[in-house]
């Protein structure tokens, strides 16, 4: 099958959808000839023209809000927010408008839009361009939250997000844009939101990891296998809706669990996952406390060593797994 990068997978899915569905269009800063800050929309304005690939002013509240308004009235916009940190500026429109309109209107109207945006650290972009704020939006009933970790997942989840009649916040990751999957089908396919993926099967400890942390978890699992420790890696892929069942069944099997994300640990979504496990029937099967890994509670620093020290790395995951096994 075809090898495709994460960027190419996203672009292919948007293009396929736009060829099929005239309601789908793009809005965002520098998504025209520039091709977007990370090149995701490169070539799209040439194919679809400036009416459907709308280069916008630097007005995140206005862009997001007008996407919501157009979605409410029959369009299916995909907004690209250049860095997910700028969601702060769009937040009223997302949290107070998009998320609630349908409910407030008594079940009338819906907001079929996708807001795509890159999160994450590791590029030296520092405090205002590196955050992982997915817990903010996950907290708001009415929004769905997706975090693909591979090119394959990115394509399938994006299709599901576009088809979804609700507002979906689609978190991409800067460090993953150039990564590729070897098996990305050319024809459109959909990965249902709320369906976790077992990225590696194992027996001793479950790691639940999101986005870039999935890759670190897989590296940790590989290295731990050499020491005879078998690790299962689960990627929820969407945190709202969350596939609780896959997580619970895995914990019942392994009896030990590590929850890891790049976002700051305090108030991070890992806390929600950990609580969900302890509230479930998996609680009785736990042989060790649920272990959470997340970033230190500081703004993302510029210096590369500090930046690395802030976020969980593969070694931290290895240590966490051993902790749950009471091993050195």
């Amino acid at each position: 099958m075809r090898e495709l990068t994460y960027v190419e997978a996203l672009r292919e899915m948007m293009s396929q959808e736009m060829r099929e569905n005239e309601n789908v269009f793009l809005m965002g800063e520098d998504i025209g000839v520039y091709g977007g800050a990370f090149g995701v929309t490169r070539g799209m304005i040439e194919e679809f023209g400036p009416e459907r690939v709308r280069n916008t002013p630097i007005s995140e509240a206005g862009i997001t809000g007008s996407a919501i308004g157009s979605a409410l009235t029959g369009m299916q916009p995909i907004v690209e927010l250049q860095f997910s940190d700028f969601i702060t500026i769009a937040m009223d429109q997302l949290a107070n408008q998009a998320a609630k309109l349908r409910y407030m209107y008594g079940g009338k109207g819906n907001v079929p839009m996708v807001l795509r945006t890159p999160a994450g650290s590791g590029t030296g972009a520092a405090a205002q361009h590196s955050q992982s704020l997915e817990a903010w939006v996950a907290h708001i009933p009415g929004l769905k939250v997706v975090q693909p970790s591979t090119a394959y997942d990115a394509k399938g989840l994006l299709k599901a997000a576009i088809d979804d009649p609700n507002p979906v916040i689609f978190y991409e990751h800067k460090l993953l844009y150039k990564t590729s999957s070897e098996d990305v089908p050319e024809e459109p396919y959909s990965i249902p939101l709320g369906q976790a993926d077992v990225k590696r099967e194992g027996e001793d400890v479950t790691i639940i990891a999101t986005t870039v942390m999935v890759h670190r978890a897989l590296e940790a699992a590989k290295s731990l296998a050499e020491e005879g420790i078998s690790v299962e890696v689960i990627d929820p892929r969407s945190i709202v809706p969350l596939d609780e069942e896959t997580i619970i069944q895995s914990v019942i099997k392994t009896n030990r669990v590590v929850v890891a994300h790049e976002a700051v640990k305090r108030g991070g979504y890992g806390g929600e996952i950990a609580s969900m496990i302890t509230e479930s029937e998996a609680f009785d099967f736990l042989d060790a406390p649920v272990k959470r890994l997340g970033a230190s509670p500081v703004p993302v620093p510029y210096n590369p060593e500090l930046e690395k020290a802030m976020t969980p790395q593969t070694e931290d995951l290895i240590r966490a797994v051993k902790d749950t096994l009471n091993r050195e």
Partner: protein
């Protein structure tokens, strides 16, 4: 002193020469940074103000030391113009502990609070409300300070710009909004992103003066800012100044510049504001060509020295990670 043109405030010959040198320092600093990024010697991203030296130097040259500025992601020039030490700036870009932000901020966050620079900003339009707030302090404490808020043409489309101009205008705050219109956001041309010819015309909507200036003409930039500062210091409220200028380089470290032509770039380069000021000083016999060349070399050498300082500076200790989150 200049004879052929009137400059406000008047500047001595030495002062004029130091302005010329400062603009060269800004240019060489950013050219050096460009080189380092191209070689992968600095990580993260950077935004260079090569071509925009006049709009950095001019406004800062007419305010007092205790006056303040807010800057942007394209902030190295503003920082130098407000009196920063380029050694510590370069050290910050290298992520070293001697940098202005102890290596935690990088290019987009250099601040020099002691010198009245409230910081570069990674958020487009993020500094405009901060400047408005600093002007509020000045007014409430009767400090007689004026705040200069630098921002780009792109930032003028953020809500923060409009809300700040309104607040500053109804409260008569001593803040000068300086829009460096370099014709583009990242790639969005001002012609496509704004439905009027001059961003300065937006001042009308807030009932404040709006001025358009040639951003390559140091004399005009200084005179207009001087006038605006006087207006603000007299308690008459804010002014919006739009300086037409151009960034010679790409937006940030990787930019194929597909959204504009090489001819357009060339035309703006020919209007180089540094050269224009240098030629003026030579024609007024304030400096000889040779002395000007020496000044230029000095500026270049100081940037080299800053690189050396940065390279010799230590990396921050990992223990500093948790410091400075709270006061």
């Amino acid at each position: 002193m200049l004879n052929s043109v009137q400059l406000y405030p008047e500047k001595s010959n030495d002062e004029l020469l130091s302005l010329l040198k400062e603009m060269w320092t800004i240019r060489f600093f950013d050219e050096k940074v460009d080189e380092f990024f191209a070689k992968g010697m600095i990580h993260g991203t950077t935004h260079l103000c090569v071509g925009q030296e006049v709009t950095a130097t001019g406004p800062c040259a007419v305010i007092k030391e205790e006056d303040k500025i807010t800057s942007t992601h394209r902030g190295h020039g503003h920082c130098i113009a407000k009196g920063a030490d380029i050694n510590r700036m370069m050290a910050e870009l290298f992520g070293r502990s001697t940098g202005y932000c102890k290596g935690k901020g990088g290019s987009m966050h250099i601040a020099d609070v002691e010198k009245g620079n409230l910081g570069a900003n990674g958020i487009v339009g993020g500094g405009i409300p901060l400047a408005t707030g600093a002007a509020l302090t000045s007014k409430m404490k009767q400090k007689d300070e004026v705040i200069l808020s630098y921002f780009g043409d792109g930032a003028a489309n953020e809500g923060s710009f409009h809300e700040s101009l309104n607040i500053a205008s109804i409260w008569n705050l001593p803040v000068i909004f300086i829009c460096e219109n370099n014709q583009y956001g990242m790639s969005g041309s001002v012609k496509e992103m704004v439905n009027i010819e001059h961003i300065a015309d937006r001042a009308t909507a807030y009932g404040i003066p709006g001025k358009v200036v040639d951003g390559n003409d140091l004399i005009e930039v200084m005179n207009e800012t001087h006038e605006a500062v006087k207006h603000a210091r007299d308690g008459k409220g804010p002014v919006l100044i739009e300086a037409k200028t151009y960034r010679w380089k790409g937006h940030s470290k990787s930019d194929a510049r597909k959204y504009r032509t090489r001819e357009e770039e060339q035309a703006w380069k020919e209007a180089d504001g540094i050269k224009r000021f240098r030629d003026l000083l030579i024609s007024e016999e304030i400096v000889t060509e040779e002395a000007a060349d020496n000044l230029r070399k000095e500026a270049k050498q100081e940037v080299e020295d800053a690189v050396k300082y940065a390279e010799d500076s230590p990396e921050p200790s990992i223990d500093t990670l948790m410091e400075d989150v709270y006061a």
